[in-house]
């Protein structure tokens, strides 16, 4: 029962956050909406026994990523309201059409499967307890290679950020021929 109540509360807050992201005029508000969704999800993770995921969600997402977002918002000075009216022709109508179709599809799928999206699940499946140990074991065992691949990703992120956004003092800026 508690979980049911929690679910509806958290679903409401996360959806509210998500709608804020796409509806708010001010980018800072959007960021706050996203933050709300991220926190809601962190709680949902706890409810689902994904403790480590929840912790990382708060630390990495809410902490690091959102800070980065806000920082860039401030940096490029777009913390001002955006025009609401759609400038692209037909864009709004098309999006509404697509949204309707998406809703229809989602409803058809959800009801069609009776909210049971995991036909492979054994009947007596125990929710895995996402403690640090339980997560770390596969992470550094079976998933070792994928874990190593994250190193490549981070190297790319670093090198890429330098290549795109680091402007060396005195370096020639014109490469066009």
């Amino acid at each position: 029962m508690i979980e049911t109540i929690l679910f509806f509360v958290l679903a409401a807050t996360s959806l509210a956050g998500a709608i804020t992201v796409i509806a708010a005029r001010n980018p800072v508000h959007s960021a706050m909406g996203l933050l709300g969704t991220l926190f809601s999800l962190a709680v949902i993770y706890v409810v689902n026994l994904a403790h480590l995921v929840a912790a990382v969600q708060v630390i990495v997402y809410a902490g690091a990523v959102m800070t980065l977002f806000l920082f860039v918002i401030m940096l490029i000075g777009v913390d001002k309201a955006e025009e609401r009216d759609e400038t692209l022709p037909y864009q709004r109508q098309l999006v509404i059409g697509l949204a309707v179709i998406t809703c229809g599809l989602a409803i058809a799928l959800a009801t069609g499967s009776g909210f049971r999206w995991t036909p492979a699940a054994p009947a007596a499946a125990q929710a895995p307890n996402g403690t640090i140990e339980n997560v770390a074991e596969p992470l550094f065992g079976e998933w070792l290679l994928a874990f190593e691949a994250t190193a490549l990703l981070l190297t790319i992120a670093a090198a890429g950020a330098i290549a795109l956004a680091y402007f060396r003092r005195g370096a020639p800026e014109e490469v066009a021929e």
Partner: protein
């Protein structure tokens, strides 16, 4: 508690040696740049070449002793990757393509100044990513490979950041690409929910042993995975980014960007649909066929109305993605035709963009067809090379492109997709004309304006070699076909 010994239980460094070499090479390139601050790119060029050769050597070594590797050692790293001929062939193609791209686009790296180290490192890392993608049989691993490869490409598209076009290309590529990645990983999550596994082989096992009453969610997941991958190969209707990115990105890198993503994504797509979901063939085959048909028609028709060579090549790439998808439809044997097509097409693509870079400049974004007028007189070698490559892409008999097209069409015909083959032939006919238009412009029209065309010695030889290979493989395709056949057998 886990111990180090357990951790290394099925670690096989040899299985991912080419990727390790590339990653270390990328680090080396960055370190050399930081430590020695070289004024010219010579040392970095040598390092890159050496790294690529070493990676190729490791792949080759593994290929040679592939038959001796028992089945138990074919799935190292917790069954995340597979050691098989197809994966090794994908590496061969990727490494060759990377080498060719660097060689033909070297003028760009010279102009990039200190940023050339980052560019080279990114190329090496992205090659490693696409290679991992091509060998993974685990969907999250595949996603990691895809991201490693793609994120590097986003940066490369914008590496000439002083040009507004380059930035625009990077932004478009990044936005649409990350949406496509999200779609892909969402598809992965849904197939995970549907099958209880992230491993392609286990998913197939589950599906052959169970009959799903309501596979709706699983089908959505599979569809999203396929979409995510077809986005990377620029198949219609997920192609919109390709022309803009190919035009905006620096010419010296476009060949690599187009070719590498295609190799990784096509091999991954093949593994997904033919190794993971053969049981759902009736569901995905019509969709893939539809995407293929749309790609061929849209690509050919839109390429015909372009006035920019790079946009034309981009749209023709859309059509080629359709052709290759055609070959994917014929089940597990189709990989032979797909691989052959990929190998010859990516080679031609890199060569063609190499010529474009030589003619219009390695870092520019515009390359109007009229810039090529009179090239036959100004730079006869380049003109002949370009013509050969274009004819190869058009699929003229006696070029490798013909054999490739023939192979995939035949496969599709035998798989019962006759209508698709007819569409494909029509698209090829349309394609022929726009390729021909460029050739006619090069040889029949008077040069207009100034002549910027210049090409380095290495690039000239490399380009000539690619053209020669295109012709030789058209006359003597048997060795390469055999190699592809071997790969399937191994």
């Amino acid at each position: 508690m886990m111990t180090l010994a357990q951790l290394g239980s099925d670690v096989s460094w040899m299985a991912i040696a080419p990727e390790l070499v590339l990653a270390l090479g990328a680090a080396l390139v960055l370190l050399i740049d930081v430590q020695f601050k070289p004024k010219t790119g010579g040392s970095l060029a040598w390092t890159t070449g050496f790294v690529l050769a070493a990676a190729f050597g490791f792949a080759l070594a593994q290929w040679l002793r592939l038959a001796d590797i028992p089945i138990s050692e074919r799935f190292p790293f917790g069954r995340m990757v597979i050691v098989d001929g197809t994966g090794l062939l994908a590496r061969f193609v990727l490494l060759v393509v990377t080498g060719l791209a660097v060689a033909t686009g070297w003028r760009l790296f010279e102009r990039l100044g200190r940023r050339r180290a980052e560019a080279l490192a990114l190329i090496l890392l992205s090659a490693a990513g696409f290679q991992l993608m091509a060998v993974s049989v685990h969907l999250v691993m595949m996603f990691m490979g895809l991201e490693v490869g793609s994120i590097a490409l986003y940066v490369l598209a914008g590496i000439t950041r002083e040009r507004a076009d380059s930035d625009e290309a990077a932004m478009k590529y990044f936005l649409l690409g990350s949406v496509a990645s999200a779609v892909f990983i969402y598809g992965v999550a849904l197939t995970f929910a549907g099958t209880g596994s992230l491993n392609i082989l286990e998913q197939n096992q589950f599906l052959t042993q169970n009959i799903l009453l309501a596979p709706g969610v699983l089908l959505v997941g599979l569809a999203l995975c396929i979409i995510g991958l077809t986005f990377k190969v620029s198949a219609a209707p997920f192609h919109a980014w390709a022309p803009d990115v190919y035009q905006g990105a620096p010419a010296g890198l476009v060949g690599y960007m187009a070719a590498a993503a295609k190799v990784g994504a096509f091999i991954a797509l093949w593994r997904l649909v033919d190794l993971g979901f053969p049981t759902m063939r009736a569901s995905w085959a019509p969709v893939v066929a539809g995407i293929a048909a749309l790609s061929m028609v849209v690509g050919a028709v839109l390429a015909a109305v372009q006035s920019d060579v790079r946009r034309m090549l981009a749209y023709s790439g859309v059509a080629h993605a359709g052709f290759i998808l055609t070959g994917l439809l014929s089940g597990i044997d189709g990989i032979r035709g797909v691989w052959f097509y990929l190998a010859v097409y990516t080679l031609q693509l890199v060569g063609a963009f190499g010529v474009v870079a030589a003619v219009t400049g390695a870092s520019t974004s515009r390359s109007a067809i009229s810039d090529f007028a009179g090239l036959g007189r100004r730079q006869p070698v380049l003109a002949v090379v370009f013509s050969t490559l274009l004819l190869g892409m058009a699929g003229l008999p006696l070029t490798s492109g013909f054999i490739a097209k023939f192979g995939v069409f035949q496969d599709a015909w035998q798989a019962g997709f006759e209508w698709l083959v007819i569409v494909a032939v029509l698209a090829s006919v349309i394609a022929f004309f726009f390729y021909l238009r460029v050739i006619v412009t090069m040889f029949m029209e008077e040069p207009s304006g100034d002549d910027h065309a210049s090409v380095g010695v290495v690039a000239r030889w490399v380009l000539a070699l690619v053209a020669i290979v295109t012709v030789v493989l058209g006359i003597l395709p048997a060795p390469l076909l055999e190699l592809a056949g071997d790969a399937v057998a191994r």
